[in-house]
């Protein structure tokens, strides 16, 4: 939280309205921008450009307050724990009703406010006009139109922040409700006054069952909390219906009335091109060919351009052809042929194995993948993909929302595991993380699989792919039945399709790559070093010996493949590359079985750590305990079936 004494300026608003872009404009600090609701999962802060003494906070998008989701709770915590100088509500100019419904609550907090109606360009294109002076007068705060992506209205925004004012309340609730609110507010003011938020606002949130406000009051009111709680219980008994719902409805009605009086919508004869594309993409008929087209384009860019052309250039021409001989030469002439030179440029050398794989093989593949993913994300295609994929995911106890982490997993499972936070229930997160760990190959691994099995034959690749899809569906199907809890039906917003902004995609790609490199290179080097140690100390041969019954007997692989499985624990793709080195010695069936087992085998070390971080040690280890035997089971079964059939 904010430890400095400088009061903060908080950006608050619905998901996907452009808070992160505005934040970037106002601070110069980059945060993850995407055309996908819910991508800001944590509060980010940075000093403001226009006023060095002010700190700006970007909060996760809130659909509504009182808080219900993790994102909303994070935002509520920021409101409760920061000394806020000013709230900047970022709203969507084309969705004024919804924006004002949130304003109706924020206005009660007694903090100076500014309302920025962003996406003014899209509102105009859709014929929505807002009488800004009238709205500003009604709310008694500065209101302005902005286009965050084009930088329009930024000057006015900074000057508005200086003029921020405590808003007039947008509504009076029913007289009876007002009475309860006043009573509770008085009690809060006496027993737990908040340094910056108004007691009335807290009372409304508390009556609306906001868990964050609840625990804040519990902490600060001491024994008087019982009194507050009694007031709330009395109020909800008197209300004939669900009290939070009742309060929310009255805010919605007030917001509707205000929105109607200050905005107008021209009747449009035909939908915009962006809307037409958006609809075609989820069309029951056109949606599928479009999806296949998109997948093919991604394959061409990542699979062909990234994994073949770029890897070829880097690995064969640059590293194997020029760099590695030069480095090896240099090292051996400098320090001679000994253990140290082996560590650097030997078979398991930090440079010849670790750095070469990290930079020449993995980097081009993930870079192209992240670019493709960024473009899809920014275009608004991802949420629509979740509509198309929903039915399939329903079979796995999930809903279409899981498509984002699953697709990202094809890039990097570790990063995807982190992204499961956008899912709404712990059950969905658990199932998704499990499936990611088990059956989703990351791009680095995919590159190796494509290279190895592609070299064998197309049908080998097909068998591998079918096995993966089969395992994915089967384990998803089982998980859906075994993990307790109910499936949540998909209800999702489909943000407008937008032309991706190159700068945005690049910034996002660089951000992801940076994260990836910081995470991957050290692990590659540690992994290589461990391999070197195992080899040096003669443990590797022992492991190869010990693994022989399983690896040779059950999987039918040469016993050296054991080494690949050990490597596989450090990184899955590392293991796959380990098998890749044996490629010439493998039969087609061995290649397929090896790749299937390695793909299913333990996720890389980094993703295991991430799993544990996200779901706890017990769950993480339990998944590991399921996945490892399962990988060998499936691998062995494939071996039996394939040797019988091939």
């Amino acid at each position: 939280m904010n430890t400095s004494t400088a009061p903060a300026i908080l950006l608050v608003g619905h998901p996907n309205v452009g808070k992160s872009v505005l934040f970037h404009r106002l601070t110069g600090a980059y945060v993850n921008v995407s055309n996908y609701p819910g991508t800001t999962v944590e509060v980010t802060q940075a000093p403001a450009r226009f006023d060095a003494s002010a700190t700006l906070l970007d909060t996760p998008g809130v659909l509504a307050l009182p808080s219900r989701s993790d994102d909303e709770r994070a935002t509520m915590r920021a409101l409760l724990n920061e000394t806020s100088r000013c709230l900047v509500q970022v709203g969507d100019a084309k969705n004024l009703r919804r924006t004002l419904t949130l304003t109706a609550l924020l206005a009660e907090l007694g903090v100076p406010m500014v309302l920025a109606l962003n996406m003014h360009d899209e509102a105009m294109a859709r014929g929505v006009t807002v009488d800004i002076p009238a709205l500003a007068e009604e709310l008694a705060i500065p209101v302005l139109a902005t286009v965050a992506t084009g930088g329009e209205g930024m000057g006015e925004l900074t000057s508005s922040i200086a003029r921020a004012a405590v808003p007039d309340p947008l509504l009076h609730y029913d007289p009876l409700l007002e009475e309860e609110i006043t009573l509770l507010a008085a009690a809060i003011a006496t027993h737990a006054p908040h340094p910056s938020l108004a007691a009335r606002g807290l009372a409304i949130l508390f009556l609306g069952n906001d868990t964050e406000v609840d625990s804040w009051l519990r902490q600060h009111a001491g024994p008087a909390y019982a009194q507050l709680d009694a007031l709330r219980r009395a109020a909800s008994q008197r209300a004939e219906e669900d009290l939070p719902g009742l309060l929310a409805r009255q805010r919605t009605e007030a917001a509707d009335a205000l929105a109607t009086s200050v905005s107008q919508r021209a009747v449009r004869s035909s939908p915009l091109l962006a809307q037409r594309i958006g609809q075609a993409v989820v069309h029951p008929l056109w949606g599928i060919p479009i999806l296949l087209g998109v997948l093919y384009a991604v394959y061409l860019f990542v699979g062909v351009f990234g994994a073949t052309t770029l890897v070829g250039l880097l690995e064969e021409d640059l590293f194997d052809g020029i760099l590695n001989p030069a480095v090896t030469d240099f090292v051996t002439t400098q320090i001679g042929n000994n253990g140290l030179s082996d560590l650097l440029v030997g078979q398991y050398g930090l440079w010849t194995m670790g750095m070469t794989y990290a930079l020449a093989l993995i980097l081009p593949i993930v870079s192209t993948f992240f670019i493709a993913f960024g473009i899809l994300e920014d275009s608004g295609y991802m949420p629509r993909l979740s509509v198309i994929a929903n039915r399939i995911f329903a079979r796995m106890g999930l809903n279409g929302r899981a498509v984002l982490p699953m697709v990202l997993g094809l890039g990097c499972v570790t990063m995807a595991t982190l992204t499961t936070r956008i899912l709404h229930s712990p059950r969905e997160r658990l199932i998704t993380i499990f499936l990611l760990a088990l059956a989703i190959p990351c791009s680095a691994q995919l590159g190796v699989v494509l290279g190895m099995l592609g070299g064998v034959s197309f049908s080998a690749l097909l068998v591998w792919a079918l096995a993966m899809v089969g395992v994915l569906f089967l384990s998803g199907f089982l998980a859906a039945r075994l993990v307790p809890g109910r499936r949540i039906p998909l209800v999702t917003e489909l943000p407008p399709m937008r032309l991706p902004i190159a700068g945005n995609v690049l910034k996002k790609t660089t951000g992801r790559l940076k994260w990836y490199l910081i995470e991957v290179i050290p692990l590659f080097l540690i992994g290589t070093f461990l391999m070197y140690l195992l080899d040096r100390l003669g443990i590797l041969p022992a492991i190869i010996e010990a693994g022989e019954p399983l690896v040779s007997g059950w999987l039918g692989l040469p016993k050296e493949a054991s080494a690949a499985f050990v490597m596989g624990f450090l990184r899955r793709d590392f293991g796959a590359t380990g098998l890749f080195m044996l490629a010439d010695a493998l039969s087609p069936v061995q290649a397929i079985v090896g790749m299937i087992t390695i793909t299913l085998f333990v996720p890389c070390f980094a993703s295991l750590l991430m799993m544990i971080k996200e779901r706890g040690l017990k769950t993480g280890l339990a998944m590991l305990a399921i996945i490892v035997p399962f990988a060998f089971l499936v691998g062995g079964l494939c071996n039996l079936v394939l040797t019988a059939l091939w």
Binding site: R98, P244, G245, V491
Partner: protein
């Protein structure tokens, strides 16, 4: 007024292209999801435009495009 004029129909049964008003959310929808739907803009009396029904119900509420599973759209009541 013809009797069918204010007859309530489930949102899932409205053919694409029609504009309707929200009449209410059925009791089958739990409190939490009800709040969520309201927050998305599904409040009583608001106009909605049905864009498609397959593979999911897609509607336009104000300028928000929303996709809902049929299991939810079945319990959302609208009038024509």
């Amino acid at each position: 007024m013809s009797p069918h004029h204010d007859a309530r129909l489930p949102l899932a049964f409205i053919p694409p292209g029609e504009e309707v008003r929200l009449a209410g959310l059925g009791d089958e929808i739990d409190a939490l999801q009800r709040e969520q739907l309201t927050a998305y803009g599904l409040a009583e009396n608001r106009p909605l435009r049905v864009l498609q029904q397959k593979p999911m119900t897609v509607i336009l509420a104000e300028e928000v495009e929303l996709a809902l599973e049929h299991s939810v759209a079945r319990h959302i009541w609208v009038v024509r």
